[in-house]
Structures are given as C-alpha cells and as structure tokens.
C-alpha cells in the first residue's frame, strides 16, 4: 500500500502537469477506485485553487497600485504628460482626500496641535483607495461590505469603523482590519491604528505589505515617534517596495 506521502506527491505532480500520459492514466484510474485518494485529491484541488486566487489577486493588486501611483502623478501639477481621465471613482477619491484634509485641519485647529510632525502627517496622509469591492452605479442591492466601503470612500470614517467592527465580529479579515486602521488614523485614533497595523505587518500579507508599511509610518509620525518612523522608512527605502516609494524617500529626509 502506498504511503500517504507518496500519494500527496503524486497528486501534486498531477496538478503541476508533471505526469506522463501513462502515469496520468494510472492516476485517473486510482481516483475512481480509491476513495481516500480521491478525498485527498479534492483537498489538494482546493489548495491549488487558493494559491491561484492568492496569486492572481496579488498580481491584480500590484497593477492597481501602479495605476493609483500614475493617477497621483497626474494629480500633481508638475506632471503634465499623463492622459486626462475623469471618473466617479476618482471623484470619490478626490472628495475623500479633500474631506481628510478638512478634517485634519479642523482636528489640528481644535486641539491647538501645531507640531511639525502633525503637519507632516496631514501633508502625506490620504485614505487608501477602495480596492476590495466594486461600487457599481445603479446596482439594485448593495451588500454590507459594499455599503461600508462606500461610507469609507465618502470619508465618514467614524461610521465606517462601526461598520467594519460589525463585519469583523463574523470573522477576522486582514483587508478589513487594514481599512479600519486607515479610518482610525483619519480620526486621530492613532494608537489603535498602530496596534492593528503592527499586527498586520507581522503577518507580512503580500497584497497589503507595502500599504501597511506606509500607513504604519504615518501612524508613528502622527504619534511623534520619529525613531520608529525613521527605522521603518529606512526599511521601505532599502526594500523593493514601489508603493509610495518617492514619498517615503522624501519623508525620510524631512524627519528629524
């Protein structure tokens, strides 16, 4: 009787297209006659599917980051070579960004907190765009997550945090935790945001890693923790990170 280890190897080779025609024929025959082998084959199938989803999502996410960075370049008046584009999504980003600046200004004014680090935060901080759900115009039914991301995109971060908490009660989700932390940073709940971002950083989730690093830097800046901010900025600059790399280089020079 073959050992489970060799069964696993055989199944992996099948999914990786490494079997010869003859081996493939024997494999398919075994699938029909051995139910344990078949169960293991199904479980591996799920696993390959997960790897496929993760890989494709990760790739799509890097392409979206390039696009987002390009759009930011266009929004910068010094860059005049980008094609002019206009869309509802970009309009929502712009409104959200404007709201953030306004909220930051009100927050700073009310607290009389006029330190240079808070100014630096306001200068560099923009809410991370919604990349996890599609918000389609004219859609009849909107689910809880879509509704929450719409609230987030509209800049109502207090309400967004409440909604994120309700969804997160059903199960932990790294993407939602990340958006919750960005919302917390937006309304000055810095310590809570840093705590989530540090936890996410430890997990090193490929699709979130670069954004987590950047917002964690901003959290440290907001908390006047220049030592940690500087250390993380150096880590970003020395890595292959592309997201906000130019801002990171610039901020590193400006931090005392």
């Amino acid at each position: 009787m073959p050992s489970p280890a060799s069964d696993s190897q055989l199944i992996e080779d099948y999914y990786r297209n490494l079997l010869s025609n003859e081996e493939r024929f024997k494999f398919e025959k075994k699938l029909k006659s051995d139910s344990d082998f078949y169960d293991l084959y199904i479980k591996y199938g799920q696993f390959f599917k997960l790897a496929e989803q993760n890989g494709n999502k990760d790739l799509k996410s890097s392409l979206q980051t390039i696009e987002y960075n390009q759009t930011n370049k266009f929004n910068n008046p010094s860059s005049k070579n980008q094609p002019k584009t206009f869309s509802i999504r970009k309009l929502i980003y712009s409104i959200a960004a404007a709201l953030i600046l306004l909220l930051s200004a009100i927050y700073l004014f009310n607290l009389g907190d006029n330190t240079s680090d808070s100014n630096l935060f306001a200068e560099y901080f923009q809410p991370y765009p919604n990349t996890i759900v599609k918000l389609e115009r004219g859609e009849a039914e909107v689910n809880e997550l879509q509704k929450t991301m719409l609230i987030y995109s509209n800049g109502d971060f207090k309400q967004a945090i409440n909604n994120f908490d309700l969804i997160l009660e059903k199960g932990k989700d790294s993407d939602l935790l990340f958006y919750k932390s960005v919302s917390q940073l937006s309304i000055g709940k810095n310590k809570e945001a840093i705590s989530i971002l540090e936890e996410l950083k430890d997990k090193e989730i490929p699709s979130l890693k670069e954004a987590v690093n950047w917002y964690l830097v901003l959290g440290y800046v907001k908390e006047n923790d220049n030592t940690k901010a500087k250390k993380l900025l150096e880590e970003i600059v020395d890595s292959n990170q592309t997201y906000q790399i130019n801002s990171a280089k610039e901020l590193l020079k400006r931090i005392k």
Partner: protein, 187 residues
C-alpha cells in the same frame, strides 16, 4: 510606437515571475490599449483600465499554467484578444454597449477566462485562506512559488538562496504540515 516584446522573453518573464519586467510591459502597452479600446467599445475609462488589468492577469495566469506555450502572433495581439473578449463579456453583462468591430486572429480555445469567477470561496476555502494568512511569510512565499508559479524545487532554492532543492523540499513539507495543523484547529 510601443516596444514589442519577443514571445520567448515574455514566457521567460512569467516563468521567472519577473514582476518589474511585467510592470514595464503593463505600462508600455497601456496607452495603445486605451486608444484601441476607446475606439472600439463604448465603455468608461475605469472599466477599460479594470479590463486591461484583468487581461494582463489572465494572460500571465494562462502562460504560467502552460496553457499558452507558443504565441501564433505577438504577445500584444494575444493580450488585446483577451481584453477584447473580456470587454465583450462586460458589454453583454451591462447590455448597453454596442460592439463596433470584431477582428482578431488569435486562438483562445484553451484559455481559462474564469479565474475571477472562482474567487468566491466556500467555507473550507475561507478557513484555508485564514490558515494560510496566519503562516510565516517565508512559508507563504515557498508555497506560492511552488503551487502558483509552479517553480521547480531547484528554481526555488536559487531564488530564495537555499543550499539545495532538498532543503526547499523539507521546508515546503514543514510548511504544508503547519498549514494542516492550522486548519485542524479551525475546523
């Protein structure tokens, strides 16, 4: 005029998972694609960019899976062919856009277009994903290179600077064992 990439270079780019070169390819083709899509389809620019990204992911995935081993024409023609089909799917879904022209000479019978439709996960898959996310970054990297990029153990050893393929194999098995343990805790 955009730079055309030789087909063998593109296949090598995918097989070695060279993301920097892929990003360059994405940027090189983008403006030509936007012009072409705008003149053939009546859809907004956000949708066009979204479809362009999906087409790149679809092309990458299918080359990675060995479903495309040789391009009949150019890589770019394939990419536009995939995008065209995705745009047609989108227009049928929206039922509001008229296709102005349809001509392409690429054969897509073997291509897998359903990679996004499979993203909705069932309970097992959800638990599997949570367990996977909890693993150490190095384990995830090895697993992705082996199961997604289909790298050989030797290639992984070279890429991640392990002594040899046996070390990678042992590490991969440890990682899979850990994943199973995490799953058992959840289920």
């Amino acid at each position: 005029m955009n730079k055309l990439i030789p087909t063998s270079d593109f296949i090598e780019l995918v097989k070695s998972d060279n993301r920097i070169a892929l990003e360059q390819f994405y940027l090189d083709q983008k403006s030509t694609f936007l012009r072409w899509a705008n003149s053939h389809f009546d859809v907004d620019e956000d949708t066009i960019i979204d479809v362009y990204q999906d087409a790149i992911v679809t092309l990458y995935f299918n080359v990675n899976e060995g479903k495309i081993e040789d391009f009949r024409s150019s890589v770019e023609a394939y990419l536009f062919g995939i995008a065209r089909n995705l745009l047609i799917k989108q227009t049928i879904k929206n039922q509001k856009v008229e296709l102005i022209e349809s001509n392409t000479d690429f054969d897509d019978r073997n291509l897998d277009y359903n990679i996004y439709e499979r993203i909705d996960a069932d309970h097992f898959n959800f638990e599997l994903k949570s367990a996977f996310d909890k693993m150490q970054a190095k384990c995830r990297e090895i697993i992705m290179l082996y199961y997604y990029n289909k790298f050989t153990l030797d290639s992984i050893a070279k890429k991640l600077k392990y002594n040899n393929s046996d070390t990678v194999k042992a590490r991969k098995n440890q990682c899979m064992k850990k994943l199973k343990e995490l799953m058992i805790k959840k289920l």
